[in-house]
């Protein structure tokens, strides 16, 4: 099976879908001539031409809106944000147009489109360029939110996102574009709302997604050395969320730790805990813990940033706490 980087899997997904469906096009800053700020659209301008791979000026509000308008009229746009931090500029379009047009027009208009780009902290990018946006977007009815951590998942989920009839926020990671993995040559799709067990285990359920996945896997490895067996569940899609997979695992392990990028207040982590206590209250042997950012804007300084980010060591400490092995 071919080994690809995540950026290549993303490119292949876009290329295949653009070949399959002429309504699909890509738009964003530096997606064409520069092949994408992180080279996710390498070769697409040459292959499809400037009509379908569109370099935009610095106009996030505008091109998010143009994408939505094109989607309403039957096209299937992929809008790339150079980072999801820049989606803040386009938030009104996403919140009030993309998410609501189907509802407001009694289904006369749909918004079949994808907003994609890197999300969350990378390395020394400071407080305004290090934010995790799934917590904002997963809050909004009318949107779907996906976060990927492997080339296989990236390709299968992006193809599903492009074919979806509703707006999908597709979250990638600047630090993980070079992560390699097997990707089948034959076509495949991964449905939304289906978690993937990245590592089976019996003692603690570790729930994670996106950039949290490598942290959780490393923590599970450290825990294994202490004879604690962790089941690492990669949610992959946050809205819809695979509640059944979470609950099945928690009923087995009776303990859960959630590892993710983002702040503790509000957000997806707290939402998962709410679902666990609602659906598996009697199965819990310990409080469910979160390992995420400290409740602070991200500092630029490397040593301070490292204190705020979720790390395998911090995740291991939480695993020890829920197993009462402090």
């Amino acid at each position: 099976m071919p080994i690809l980087q995540i950026r290549q899997a993303i490119r292949d997904a876009m290329k295949e879908e653009m070949e399959r469906d002429e309504r699909v096009f890509l738009m964003g800053e530096e997606v064409g001539y520069y092949n994408g700020a992180y080279k996710c659209s390498e070769g697409l301008l040459d292959h499809f031409g400037a009509k379908r791979v569109i370099d935009t000026p610095i106009t996030e509000t505008g091109f998010a809106g143009i994408g939505i308008g094109a989607a309403m009229c039957g096209l299937r746009p992929i809008v790339e944000f150079m980072t999801f931090n820049f989606s803040a500029v386009a938030f009104d379009q996403i919140l009030n147009n993309a998410a609501k047009l189907r509802h407001m027009t009694h289904g006369q208009f749909g918004v079949p489109m994808v907003f994609r780009g890197p999300n969350a902290a990378a390395h020394m990018l400071g407080s305004t360029h290090s934010q995790a946006f799934e917590h904002f977007y997963a809050h909004i009815p009318g949107l779907k939110v996906v976060a990927v951590a492997t080339p296989y998942d990236a390709k299968g989920l992006l193809k599903t996102a492009i074919r979806d009839e509703n707006p999908v926020l597709f979250l990638e990671s600047e630090l993980m574009y070079s992560v390699k993995g097997e990707v089948p040559e034959e076509e495949y799709l991964i449905p939304f709302g289906q978690a993937d067990i990245k590592r089976p285990g019996d003692h603690v359920t570790v729930i994670t997604w996106g950039q949290g996945v490598p942290v959780a896997l490393k923590a599970a490895e450290l825990a294994a050395a202490e004879d604690v067996s962790c089941e690492v569940i990669d949610l992959r899609s946050l809205r819809p969320m695979d509640e059944a997979a979470i609950i099945a695992s928690v009923k087995k392990t009776n303990r859960a730790v959630i590892v993710y990028h983002g702040w503790p207040n509000g957000g997806v982590g707290g939402d998962i805990i709410a679902r666990i206590q609602e659906l598996a209250f009697d199965d819990l042997d310990a409080p469910v813990l979160r390992v995420c950012y400290e409740d602070l804007p991200m500092p630029y300084a490397e040593n301070l940033e490292n204190l705020i980010l979720p790390s395998p060591e911090r995740a291991l400490a939480a695993i020890r706490r829920v197993t009462y092995k402090r």
């Binding site: 800053e29 935009t56 305004t128 360029h129 630029y300």
Partner: protein, 319 residues
């Protein structure tokens, strides 16, 4: 002098590429030797910080006329809203070099909190320097708000905002221009534009004309000048600030700069695009420049910078 694709067309030339003062009147009362020292110091500052290799740091080599002249021309009570490449204005405005180095490095003075901003995004509230936000254009309406406050106070003070032409396609830029025009604010917008002889990318913000021309249509007073011609930049900024302080309305000065830092793709940029070199040629013609003069300025600035960065790096907290 041959036509050069890096030189802006249709701008008034005060100091020509050979360093000849075409418009002596424009330089009247300007101490060009003192200005030269400031420009050299700004370049030394840039090179010193670049050596640190900090993520998100962007060099401003070639753009010094804007930061240096803004700092020199802004009144004590005027406010400046800089971009992240305009850090050189802070020491001229009085920011202590130790503090400058701590802000760049994100370290803390004894008993104080460390700085968390991106390197280059300096702030000094006591010196009238607002924070340079990283998201593009976020500082423009803030500057308009400050200008509005100045206007309400009726104190005859101006507010200056500095930015690059890439953000002139954003809604925030257009909204700020609309507000400044509608409310007749004492606001001076300083836009640094680049020329793109090899063709501009879409995100350069070029819309077929100059930014100065574009804002004229919105009722703003504007001038377009060459950033390599410090005398012309001085004249335009001075006029814009006087107008704002005299309640004659907002203005925009578009300064065409050529980026000279090592990372810039072009290597065939002629020396006269460097504002420092052009002014040096002038001083040389006038018998006011010698290699020793140059060495003394550089040695002095480098010494001060070394001391400041050594102090700042000795702290435990920081990058």
């Amino acid at each position: 002098m041959e036509d050069c694709p890096w030189d802006p067309e249709g701008v008034e030339v005060c100091l020509d590429p050979e360093g000849q003062l075409v418009d002596r009147r424009a330089a009247q009362g300007v101490d060009l030797r003192a200005l030269y020292k400031r420009l050299v110091a700004a370049r030394c500052l840039d090179l010193r910080v670049e050596r640190l290799g900090l993520p998100m740091w962007v060099s401003c080599a070639g753009e010094e006329a804007v930061s240096v002249l803004t700092a020199m021309l802004a009144g004590q009570e005027d406010w400046i809203y800089p971009g992240v490449r305009d850090f050189a204005l802070a020491p001229i405005r009085g920011l202590d070099l130790d503090d400058f180095a701590r802000q760049i490095l994100g370290t803390a003075a004894d008993g104080e909190r460390p700085y968390n901003g991106r390197p280059g995004a300096l702030a000094a509230a006591d010196l009238g320097i607002a924070y340079a936000p990283e998201p593009l254009g976020l500082h423009l309406p803030l500057a308009a708000g400050q200008a509005h406050a100045q206007k309400l106070a009726g104190n005859g003070r101006a507010t200056i905002a500095i930015f690059g032409e890439g953000l002139t396609t954003t809604a925030l830029f257009h909204e700020t221009v609309a507000l400044a025009s509608a409310c007749d604010l004492p606001l001076v917008l300083v836009c640094k534009s680049q020329l793109w002889p090899e063709g501009a990318p879409a995100e350069a913000g070029l819309l077929g004309d100059s930014v100065a021309e574009r804002v004229k249509a919105c009722g703003l007073w504007s001038r377009r000048v060459d950033g390599a011609d410090v005398v012309a930049v001085h004249a335009a900024l001075d006029q814009a600030l006087r107008r704002a302080r005299d309640a004659r309305g907002p203005g925009l000065v578009e300064v065409v700069v050529t980026q000279l830092h090592a990372g810039s793709a072009e290597s065939d940029i002629p020396a006269h695009r460097d504002p420092i070199e052009r002014l040096r040629r002038h001083l040389d013609r006038e018998g006011q420049w010698t290699p020793t003069f140059q060495d003394v300025i550089e040695a002095e600035v480098r010494g001060q910078l070394e001391r400041a960065f050594t102090h700042a790096q000795a702290k435990e907290i920081g990058r």
